[in-house]
């Protein structure tokens, strides 16, 4: 029997249920009967594809998934790979010398340094030392992360197409530099659906850097559903009394009263359903139930007060302060435990055009301990193997100084040709360093990974063939990876 017809029959059964219960409905029974939420999904060719809200468009993964969920620690602004991961002693040796044209090789410049007549090479002000079994070089700015380097899969050969923040970050999240397409989390919600009935499947947490308090803005389109349905939009979790917009009951309405209110709404809606037979009404009844469940489950999940002291110590002192990156990492773990599919963090402030040494130290301090703690916390709970953790920004930074280079100070402009990100868990190779840049840290010399390749690889770990998860909009089958991208098999465990 066709799925459409079958779904329709389910709907009919629900309708029969409603029409039989003339004296009102026990809502507990109702919600368990509906078992989640229903949605009418109107495809653009006028075909009704009705499906359960919790279910994605893909009947089954394309191949066995390694990861069930993703925690993406996005570092907004473009962290400098040269201070953090990509050790280039030559840059210190040749400090102050002009970047050779043969290395720059026609790379276009942003409007911020295109007027500069000198491009003095500058190495990291911070030391590097070797860590882990492979003796991986890590910056002294990241002491905690250095200790867990054997868990990480570090990619030093990331490259992108955009050279400015807005297009670059939009490109990372949506596969297109221009706004309008769905972001990664929305694609996953669309493709894979939700794993729980009480929380949104795609959540977003923001924090502001202390290294540079005001750097680059964010845009809600970065967690927007684009042309997918609004059901797939990321739900921002915020610190404060209303962790999700409009979540809190108004003052003067308590839980018991709210419950009764929803029962009355459901009863009245059910009468309408009897009268009009529109399945959309039963969908709405189910959505109200999900909303009610969220009102309980969201405050529960964001309440970190019952975490033991050793966990706070692990994540660092910031973790007790809501809204910080560390607190968000802890919250991310709690959301992961509740099987939220895609947990997107944004940490702002990584745009070090000037005063880089001071700023980056602050930024690194914000994230280092909590990042390492999150990974190890997931590991100790047996969750790292099916959780893919990603850490990285939208592009890298130049090997030459933006502005005047002094003995103690310099800045770096945007650099799309190479930068570093790392992953952990979720079926990627631990203890791996992938890709190489030249000794100037300017060009990739081995194993380049394009943003689309990264996206394809991430989807692959979730069991999705990036070429097969498509959405037809205005006649075209869109993908997260546009028409590009290949899975980087070398990274996979």
């Amino acid at each position: 029997m066709s799925k459409i017809i079958k779904e329709r029959e389910n709907q009919m059964n629900r309708r029969a249920f409603f029409s039989k219960s003339a004296t009102g409905i026990g809502v507990a029974a109702l919600s368990s009967l509906l078992g989640g939420c229903n949605l009418f999904d109107q495809s653009e060719n006028g075909i009704l594809t009705q499906k359960n809200n919790l279910q994605g468009i893909l009947d089954a993964p394309h191949f066995a998934p390694k990861a069930k969920r993703v925690i993406y620690l996005f570092q907004s602004g473009g962290p400098s790979q040269l201070e953090l991961f990509d050790y280039k002693p030559l840059l210190n040796q040749r400090r102050g010398e002009e970047l050779p044209d043969s290395i720059r090789n026609g790379q276009r410049l942003t409007g911020m340094t295109s007027g500069q007549d000198s491009f003095p090479i500058v190495g990291s002000q911070f030391g590097f030392s070797q860590h882990g079994e492979n003796g991986t070089y890590m910056s002294d700015l990241m002491p905690y992360t250095s200790k867990i380097v054997d868990e990480l899969c570090i990619i030093k050969s990331m490259h992108t197409e955009a050279i400015n923040h807005d297009p670059a970050i939009t490109f990372f999240q949506t596969g297109s530099q221009q706004p309008g397409r769905p972001c990664m989390g929305s694609w996953l919600s669309y493709g894979m659906g939700s794993m729980n009935e009480n929380l949104p499947t795609f959540t977003v947490l923001l924090s502001r850097g202390t290294g540079r308090k005001f750097g680059q803005p964010l845009y809600s389109r970065l967690w927007g559903n684009g042309f997918l349905h609004s059901l797939h939009q990321g739900v921002q979790f915020r610190s404060g009394k209303d962790p999700v917009l409009y979540l809190k009951d108004p003052d003067g309405i308590d839980r018991a009263s709210r419950r009764k209110m929803l029962d009355h709404i459901a009863e009245l809606n059910a009468k309408q359903l009897e009268e009009f037979g529109d399945p959309e009404i039963s969908s709405r009844i189910a959505q109200y139930e999900m909303a009610y469940r969220m009102q309980t489950s969201v405050p529960d999940v964001v309440d970190i007060s019952n975490e033991p002291d050793h966990i706070y110590q692990m994540y660092g002192p910031d973790s007790m302060q809501p809204g910080t990156f560390a607190a968000n990492c802890l919250l991310a773990r709690r959301l992961a435990e509740q099987d939220v599919r895609f947990i997107q963090l944004y940490h702002m402030g990584w745009d070090q055009h000037e005063n880089l040494p001071t700023q980056i130290a602050g930024q690194a301090k914000d994230v280092d301990q909590a990042t390492a703690a999150l990974i190890m916390d997931l590991k100790q709970r047996g969750m790292l193997e099916d959780t893919l953790v990603i850490w990285g920004g939208e592009f890298g930074r130049t090997n030459y100084s933006q502005g005047t280079l002094t003995d103690t100070n310099y800045g770096r402009d945007h650099h799309p040709r190479c930068f570093t990100i790392f992953m952990a868990g979720g079926g990627v190779k631990p203890g791996m360093v992938y890709g190489e840049t030249d000794e100037f840290g300017y060009n990739i010399v081995k194993d380049p990974v394009h943003v689309h390749d990264f996206q394809a690889t991430m989807l692959h770990q979730l069991g999705i063939d990036h070429e097969k998860m498509t959405y037809k909009y205005q006649g075209r089958r869109f993908r997260l990876t546009d028409v590009h991208g290949k899975v980087v098999k070398d990274l996979l465990a």
Binding site: Q42, T110, I163, R208, L218, G224, I281
Partner: protein, 781 residues
């Protein structure tokens, strides 16, 4: 250009039943393909195959990517998008053919699609595309029946459709003839007419975006004259609210916003243009003139200020101030945006797909894209806003004096001395446009000039090679697309879905019209009536088809889940704007001021501030307005593109990043949270309670009044019992906990009134809130 056999009505008359079945069951998403192949119903292949309705959608969707219009992507030099290509001899020796009419067996197309050899089968496994047995059957049968070829339906001239005669059913005007002809052929009948209350609710929302008042409902019910309904329609079409609602739709299309849209997302002032649009709709400016002014007002002879203001339409696109961008890259982006907007809004074509390469599905080459691009390429503008916060050139300054004296349609509410407005201007020395290799700003190749594709309509000498010529081409009676695309959008406004379900795609990948002759009849009427939009809308809402009940039976739901046949009215949820406006109007809070600067109603704290970088100027922090401004219609809500109003986005408003002509309608838990907890709704509940307490003096009457205001109908006794028992429960709860009552009544800025004791007032507020949360309340009816 067009073959002689262009009668698109033929197939419908012949095979309407099958066409319907096909439209209902012929999906193109990968998931449903498999669903359909296993369905027994889908196996019924029509007796007579029609190229446009059955064959082309398959060829386009599964074959064109490699065998279509894009020359660079074309494999084996085989193309199915033109007749010559599809029937051409193939191979080195020119000894075989993809399609041999009447000889399916020897047609390589058939051989390849039925092949089981992975090296042979088409589409190739790598394409991730497949054909179902049904689709293969269609292609085979089409060839067996002679492989008749037809040009794409929407590029054929608009036909003066003959009105079909029908034997049964209610006929108000020719729309009903077209709809009933198809219904009767299916042996289906209408579900009957809506009640008067439902009808006035529906038409008032569709034409004005607001609910009818009780007085309006009562008057309509009382009026037994045959033209009672027509009087309602005529009245609605004269209102400011009508103009505002038409404008609301136009703002999506025109990607209107109050901010620049990229990075720091600074404020811009475009409301004088929005006020002009309201003004133009109010006075029912003919659509051709309305659009011509917006596209080319500055190029008209001795343009008036009003005509120049209209051109701000093409400056509504996003503009960046991000220091460090390469200005030319962004300037090209702005011109591209205008190109895309023109394609989507006026031609219903996805021109933007031909920016980087020839279109994969439609007869639009990359050259065509950049030829259209060149019309919009001569604006003396810059890619980057410099210095920070500057007003992007070109712009005009509207003085307080001229607004008071001549441009009175602008509501200069804040009495600004001088309002800058970005407008279009043509450079005396035109910028030579080029094809840009892969769409990249820094890779110009062949120079191109203003021109439009011949496949649509030749851009011959009578059209000047500028935006004004483009507009004249657009509104030429021979243009096959403009009127169809326009009436289709109006139809969508009234019926929830276009006759072509993809108002943004009339190309090969778009939906086919469910009622092609009706579409053409409406398009012809529009042109014959001098592009009179009100007349078109009136015809639609006067039809019996529009006035049907939205009730549906299981049987009909099974046969026609999407309501393509229109045996009933579609039960439509209100739009984001309507939902909020409804609560404001019902409670009496709505401020009816028309136009003026955008306003900032309630919004959760901190949303703007938490995402800004260092900049953002006046938009760094959301400073909520006070007083009546927070009760204005939602069309006036301030639109910051990078953080649009969250409650509106939850109800499927568009981001205004690009031209959009269709919104999706979803049902999500976040919507429930908005309706239950947004202070705007909670406050409206309280004020609705005040109103009912003042008007009526007992519980049942008060509940009945609130219910009727929200749903436009009388409450039933069951419903009344339900709500009054809940009222009593809540009242006693609040009596036990007077602080709770106090807290609830404090929500919102509207001053509190002491009409009753607080616990009772609070209980009424709760009941009003329940009523606002009913599915029926946010439904048109």
């Amino acid at each position: 250009m067009i073959s002689k056999k262009t009668n698109i009505s033929t197939p419908l008359v012949l095979v309407s039943i099958i066409v319907i079945t096909l439209l209902l069951l012929f999906p193109s998403s990968c998931k449903t393909d498999q669903v359909i192949s296993s369905s027994s119903i889908a196996k019924a292949i029509p007796d007579k195959i029609d190229f446009n309705f059955h064959v082309k959608p398959i060829l386009s969707d599964r074959c064109f990517t490699c065998h279509g219009p894009d020359e660079n992507a074309r494999k084996e030099n085989l193309r199915f998008d033109t007749k010559e290509g599809a029937f051409a001899a193939l191979g080195k020796n020119k000894d075989h053919y993809a399609i041999i009419p009447n000889d399916a067996e020897n047609s390589t197309l058939i051989q390849r699609i039925f092949s089981e050899d992975p090296a042979e089968i088409m589409p190739t496994p790598e394409s991730n595309l497949t054909l179902t047995n049904y689709e293969k059957g269609i292609l085979k049968k089409w060839i067996e029946q002679g492989a008749e070829w037809k040009e794409h339906w929407s590029f054929l001239p608009i036909k003066n459709s003959e009105i079909p005669e029908v034997s049964k059913g209610k006929i108000n005007n020719p729309i009903d003839n077209f709809v009933l002809a198809k219904l009767n052929a299916q042996n289906l009948t209408s579900m009957g007419m809506a009640t008067k209350a439902q009808l006035i609710r529906r038409v008032t929302f569709d034409l004005t975006g607001l609910p009818p008042t009780l007085e309006e409902i009562d008057n309509f019910k009382k009026d037994k004259s045959p033209d009672a309904y027509e009087k309602v329609v005529d009245r609605l079409l004269q209102t400011d609210a009508y103009a505002e609602t038409m404008t609301t739709n136009w703002l999506d299309l025109a990607r209107y916003a109050d901010s620049h849209g990229y990075q720091d997302d600074l404020e811009r002032i475009m409301f004088p243009w929005r006020d002009w649009v309201i003004h133009a709709f109010k006075k029912n400016m003919p659509y051709d003139q309305f659009v011509t002014w917006q596209l080319a007002g500055d190029l008209l002879p001795n343009p008036t200020r009003e005509q120049i203001i209209a051109t701000a339409f093409n400056r509504n696109h996003k503009i960046t101030q991000e220091g460090g961008v390469i200005p030319e890259e962004y300037r090209v982006e702005y011109v591209s945006d205008r190109t895309q907007t023109f394609g989507t809004a006026f031609l219903g074509l996805t021109f933007e797909c031909a920016k980087c390469h020839d279109h994969k599905y439609d007869a639009i080459q990359q050259k065509d894209y950049f030829s259209l691009f060149s019309f919009f390429n001569n604006v003396p503008e810059e890619g980057l806003i410099e210095p920070y916060g500057a007003i992007p050139k070109p712009y005009i300054k509207l003085t307080k004096k001229e607004i008071e004296e001549t441009l009175t349609f602008i509501n200069n509410l804040d009495t600004i001395e001088e309002i800058p407005l970005m407008v279009m201007e043509e450079m005396p020395q035109k910028r030579q446009a080029h094809i840009l290799n892969r769409g990249a700003y820094d890779q110009p190749t062949t120079p191109v000039n203003p021109e439009m594709p011949k496949s649509i309509l030749a851009f011959d000498e009578k059209f000047s090679k500028d935006r004004l010529g483009l507009s004249n081409w657009l509104f030429s009676k021979e243009n096959p697309l403009t009127a169809r695309v326009t009436v289709n959008r109006l139809w969508q406004q009234c019926f929830g879905k276009g006759i072509v379900a993809t108002p943004d795609d009339f190309g090969n990948q778009g939906s086919l019209p469910t009622h092609p002759e009706l579409l053409d009849w409406l398009a012809t009427e529009l042109m014959n009536n001098n592009w009179d939009l009100k007349a078109s809308l009136k015809t639609m809402v006067m039809s019996a088809t529009y006035q049907q009940s939205s009730k549906v039976t299981e049987e009909l739901l099974e046969i026609d889940p999407e309501n393509d046949l229109l045996a009933r009215a579609s039960r439509q949820r209100l739009s984001a704007e309507m939902i909020r406006d409804h609560a404001l109007a019902t409670s009496g809070l709505l401020d009816r001021t028309v136009g003026g600067p955008s306003v900032k109603p309630y919004q959760p704290d901190g949303l703007w501030a938490e995402t800004i970088g260092g900049g953002g100027g006046s938009l760094a922090k959301y400073i909520q307005d006070k007083g009546s401004k927070i009760y204005r219609r939602s069309i006036y809500t301030f639109w910051k593109r990078t953080v649009p109003p969250p409650s509106m986005m939850t109800f499927d408003a568009t981001t205004r990043d690009v031209c959009t002509v269709k919104r999706s309608t979803t049902s999500t838990p976040l919507q429930a949270l908005v309706m239950l907890n947004d202070p705007q709704i909670v406050e409206a509940s309280r004020v609705l309670a005040y109103h009912s307490i003042e008007k009526e003096n007992d519980l049942e009457k008060r509940i009945g009044l609130m219910f009727r205001l929200a749903t436009s109908r009388e409450i039933t006794s069951d419903e009344l019992n339900n709500l009054s028992s809940f009222f009593n429960e809540e009242k006693s709860r609040f009596e036990k906990s007077p602080t709770a009552a106090k807290e609830l009544l404090q929500i919102g800025e509207y001053p509190q009134r002491e009409l009753l004791k607080e616990p009772e007032m609070a209980a009424y507020t709760i009941i009003a809130n329940v009523i606002f949360n009913l599915d029926e309340t946010i439904t048109k009816g």
